[in-house]
């Protein structure tokens, strides 16, 4: 303990220098955790995507709608096991900041397609019976404090026929990720029938089709056939596996992984220089003190450990603070970003790798000054003054 106290006092020797060094480490680790989380969110979306599910969208863009009749036409393509559809509703709850995905769907069809989530059968039953009914994911419930039976008004992109822009829904069920599955649960679903009848424009269209094929091997053939089917029509389509779809969505942001790695490499290289310089200076300044410690009988190894403890403490303090701050920022931004990036939350792996990385940073920046302290010759160090 007395030893640790000494380490601590040595760190406070030049308070400003220590503070500036810690601050720069903090910034580096905020970047590390934030960019790492972003990267994770993108790659998770890709991982979540099923290999036997295809998505059919309008060839021009995701925003353009497809005629409802496509659903049955696609159903008849050979190799297609199941078809359903979804549409982007784009509403918000109370405040434009409260964005999250809302899809009008066909209840049983949609939940049959995505078996990674579960909705209790009695809630499914209640939802089907209520025309205004909706189901929401667990993370939405936690975010807004909703419960079954609540009335939820959403302000939407779509006017209703009665000129009203606020749509009211009643929560009839809460779905969750199936045991062992990592799934986004921040989406709200309600009945397409009600939506289609009540909306003032766009009647008879859907946003995109989701289909399951008999086996992943036929996926490419089926996709080609579907797109051929609608070629030269007023709404041409583009069909791809969900995985490719998510990947191409992510690619719009560039190769996130490579960019993140490049930025982090630059940041940590700088960090090595900054923290390394601090430690080198700090040891150089007190060569005589270290020599006195050796004179008193402290071994070279204990000097080495003391200097290393200093640099590791410095790096870990900065690293954990950085990861902690990043966690705060991310939790704050989570609500807003989850609509676009489901699964945007700091994974625990980032916390662990951040902690490990900070220890490594402390070690690498401390080891050379520490070795210098360990090897220093008492006679020449004390004779130097």
């Amino acid at each position: 303990m007395a030893y640790l106290y000494f380490v601590w006092r040595n760190l406070l020797r030049k308070k400003t220098r220590t503070l500036l060094t810690v601050l720069s480490i903090v910034v580096a680790f905020i970047l590390y955790a934030a960019l790492g989380t972003l990267n994770y969110a993108f790659s998770m979306g890709v991982d979540l995507a099923g290999a036997d599910r295809l998505i059919t969208i309008h060839k021009t863009s995701l925003i353009q709608q497809l005629p409802y009749s496509y659903v049955n036409k696609v159903r008849s393509v050979e190799g297609v096991a199941d078809v359903t559809h979804a549409t982007w509703f784009g509403g918000y709850y109370q405040d434009p900041k409260n964005q999250f995905p809302q899809f009008p769907v066909v209840a049983e069809e949609y939940f049959a397609m995505y078996d990674t989530v579960v909705l209790p059968p009695e809630q499914m039953e209640a939802w089907r019976k209520n025309r205004l009914g909706a189901v929401v994911g667990r993370s939405l419930v936690e975010r807004f404090g909703w419960k079954v039976g609540d009335r939820v008004p959403l302000k939407a992109l779509y006017d209703k026929k009665d000129g009203e822009r606020v749509w009211e829904f009643v929560i009839e069920g809460i779905y969750e990720a199936r045991e062992g599955q990592v799934v986004d649960t921040s989406t709200m679903f309600f009945h397409y029938d009600y939506f289609d009848e009540a909306r003032a424009f766009g009647e008879g269209t859907v946003g995109w089709l989701i289909l399951r094929v008999d086996s992943p091997e036929v996926a490419n053939r089926v996709a080609d056939e579907i797109d051929m089917l609608f070629a030269n029509s007023s709404a041409e389509t583009k069909t791809s596996t969900e995985k490719v779809f998510v990947e191409s969505f992510a690619k719009q942001f560039g190769d996130i992984g490579a960019i993140v790695s490049a930025i982090l490499a630059a940041v940590f290289f700088t960090m090595l220089l900054v923290a390394g310089n601090t430690m080198a200076q700090s040891v150089r300044e007190r060569i005589p003190e270290l020599a006195v410690m050796k004179t008193i009988g402290f071994s070279g190894a204990s000097i080495l450990l003391m200097v290393l403890a200093e640099s590791i403490l410095l790096a870990v303090a900065g690293g954990l603070t950085g990861v902690g701050l990043a966690w705060l920022f991310i939790s704050g931004a989570q609500a807003n970003l989850q609509a676009f990036l489901p699964g945007f939350a700091m994974p625990t792996s980032i916390v662990f790798s951040g902690a490990l990385l900070s220890v490594a940073l402390g070690f690498v920046t401390g080891i050379f000054p520490a070795l210098q302290g360990m090897r220093l010759s008492i006679v020449s160090a004390l004779g130097r003054r």
Binding site: M1, A2, Y3, Y5, F6, R9, N10, L12, R13, P288, E289, V292, M293, K294, T295, I296, G297, F298, S299, G300, I378, V379, L382, G383, R385
Partner: protein, 226 residues
Amino acid sequence: MEQDILVDLKQIEKSYRKGKETVKVLSGLDLEIKRGDFLALMGPSGSGKSTLLNLLGGLDSPTSGSLRIDGDQIDKLSQGQLTRWRARHVGFIFQFYNLMPVLTTERNVELPLLLTKLSKKQRRQHVDTALALVGLQDRAKHYPSELSGGQEQRVAIARAIVSDPTLLLCDEPTGDLDRATADEILDLLRDLNEQQNKTIIMVTHDPKAADHAKHTLNLNKGALEH
């Protein structure tokens, strides 16, 4: 008291290599020091006083010769063994005090005890005793920057005696102090020698400092003059 020989040097040689040249600093030095002695080591600058003191304290090893202290053959010890030996047997006092600026008086004095198995409470007691001996109990919580030069040297002395070493080695302990303060420090060293029976070897340029010692030895060009 018995004629108990604590330090026994035989045919000590010490030379430094400077590039191709070899500089002989000590040549064929024989010296016996009795337990409980207070020895002043004088001599012109560059005569090898500090070099000899470093050998006695196990900070450096002789080029050849036998160096025996309290039954231990020091010249045969490895670096690691020397380090442990120093911790148990030697207390050093330097011209420039060499305290840790980031530690308070009591923490500075406690430092050598961190190498022992003493409990926190026992360390406290030893520190209090050492501070009482140098008359600085009321400065226990002060930092070196808040002390005068004389007080700093007292702290350094407390640090040197706190683990009750066999031998106290001082290299110009009053070299940086004014006359009055220097005399106080010298009186303190004499008290430690007479009352606590500490064996002290002190390098000094100051004849008045040497007067406080029981014996004086003169070193000239690496050899002792009697």
